[in-house]
């Protein structure tokens, strides 16, 4: 029988970003194994999450510098002109073969697809296809956090699949990296919708040692991995 006072304590600390050590590990476990199926905890989490926005209202508003909006508009225009962030040529070659990570299903939101100017490495996968793959005895399964990495036989691509995957904190996204001989390569970002993840990653599984999923601020530059969230076993 779960102690909801104890889980509430952890959820309160979690939304405030103030957990560390064993508590941080424990809340990750709760978010993966209990919260998705517990109406009470989901309601508590949403309510507490909302409070972190409300408490912010107590700070006195202050006019931002007049330069901020023009800076922001330049950033928006630059994104529009440039399209997706460029990859370094060496990393593109390393990851070029084609791998796909599928995480989440119905409402997976790929917030920032990876890939270079010429190809996109991560995209939302066809749900029916992923389900077939998942049940295919020929498919290799690897656990990666709350999801599974699916490697179909004979093709140079990967999938990521998951159900009941917990949401990253507000303003944050999951970020997928391949880990190869030359270090980590950013593949793309995603946010599960209703816990479902289904991603296709156009990368040859043979060209990478591992997949890594981190939690990063949305729209931050994917220069190097931050806090590791999940890693393929």
């Amino acid at each position: 029988m779960i102690d909801h006072d104890a889980t509430d304590e952890l959820l309160a600390g979690y939304v405030l970003g103030s957990l560390s050590g064993e508590d941080a590990v424990e809340v990750d476990r709760l978010l993966a194994e209990h919260v998705p199926d517990c109406d009470r905890c989901r309601a508590t989490l949403d309510a507490f999450q909302g409070l972190t926005g409300e408490i912010g209202l107590s700070a006195s508003p202050a006019p931002p510098p007049e330069t901020l909006l023009p800076r922001l508009q330049r950033s928006l225009d630059a994104r529009r002109r440039r399209g997706l962030p460029a990859w370094s040529p060496t990393r593109l070659v390393a990851a070029a073969a084609a791998a796909v990570v599928v995480v989440g299903v119905a409402g997976l939101v790929v917030t920032q697809a990876g890939g270079g100017a010429q190809e996109q490495l991560m995209s939302q996968a066809d749900l029916a296809q992923v389900k077939l793959l998942k049940d295919d005895p020929q498919t290799t399964h690897k656990r990666i956090g709350e999801t599974q990495e699916l490697i179909p036989p004979g093709v140079e691509e990967l999938y990521i699949w998951g159900e009941n995957v917990s949401q990253p904190p507000a303003g944050f996204t999951y970020r997928v990296w391949t880990v190869g001989a030359d270090g980590e390569t950013w593949v793309g970002d995603f946010i599960p919708d209703n816990g479902v993840v289904a991603l296709h990653i156009a990368v040859d599984p043979a060209s990478v040692n591992d997949l890594l999923v981190t939690v990063e601020p949305i729209a931050s530059e994917p220069s190097q991995p931050g806090e590791p969230a999940w890693k393929a076993a």
Partner: protein, 187 residues
């Protein structure tokens, strides 16, 4: 409330890539976001980065907001807060307490930034939030604000206040539960 409905409409336009909707959301929330980011980071340069990145993230991934899970206002300010705390943690060495914003205290009735342009309902809600905070027992409010505005972990708070970690957890939860009741919005 009409303003909340307006937020949802603006968000829907944002999903369609409407820059005018983005500009309107900026007009509504930039001052509150900047004030919050300044209070968390304590430095104008860092606060600008937080607000810039939060709005950029909103533009790039408006789908991250789910109206079934709360209001747009709380979603966006929560995002600003998370980013502020994250930046403070990453840039701990840059944190200069002497540059902390002058608006740290008190949670006063009169707002020094009355002149700031913002939607009127934000001011009404701010008053409610401040009242709810001031009604918390001082010990509960203290741990909540150390976590929220100073970005401290519960372990750090326990060490600083010379109290058991369990007490920090208990006080934090008690504060959050009281705020939840006090600030529950009418459907």
């Amino acid at each position: 409330m009409q303003d909340l409905a307006d937020d949802l409409e603006l968000h829907r336009r944002l999903l369609a890539g409407d820059r005018a909707a983005f500009d309107e959301i900026y007009r509504r929330y930039a001052a509150q976001a900047y004030g919050l980011a300044y209070r968390v980071t304590g430095q104008q340069v860092l606060a600008q980065d937080v607000v810039h990145d939060a709005f950029l993230a909103l533009w790039r991934a408006p789908e991250a907001f789910d109206e079934r899970r709360g209001s747009f206002r709380t979603f966006f300010l929560s995002m600003v807060h998370h980013r502020g705390v994250d930046l403070v943690r990453r840039e701990q060495r840059l944190r200069n307490r002497t540059e902390k914003a002058a608006n740290l205290e008190p949670l006063a009735d009169e707002d020094p930034a009355d002149a700031v342009a913002e939607a009127g309902y934000l001011g009404v809600r701010r008053k409610e939030v401040r009242e709810a905070l001031t009604e918390l027992p001082a010990a509960q409010r203290q741990v909540l604000e150390m976590a929220y505005f100073d970005g401290k972990t519960q372990v750090q708070i326990a060490e600083e206040l010379h109290i058991p970690l369990g007490t920090v957890k208990t006080r934090t939860l008690a504060a959050m539960r009281k705020l939840r009741v006090a600030l529950e919005e009418a459907p």
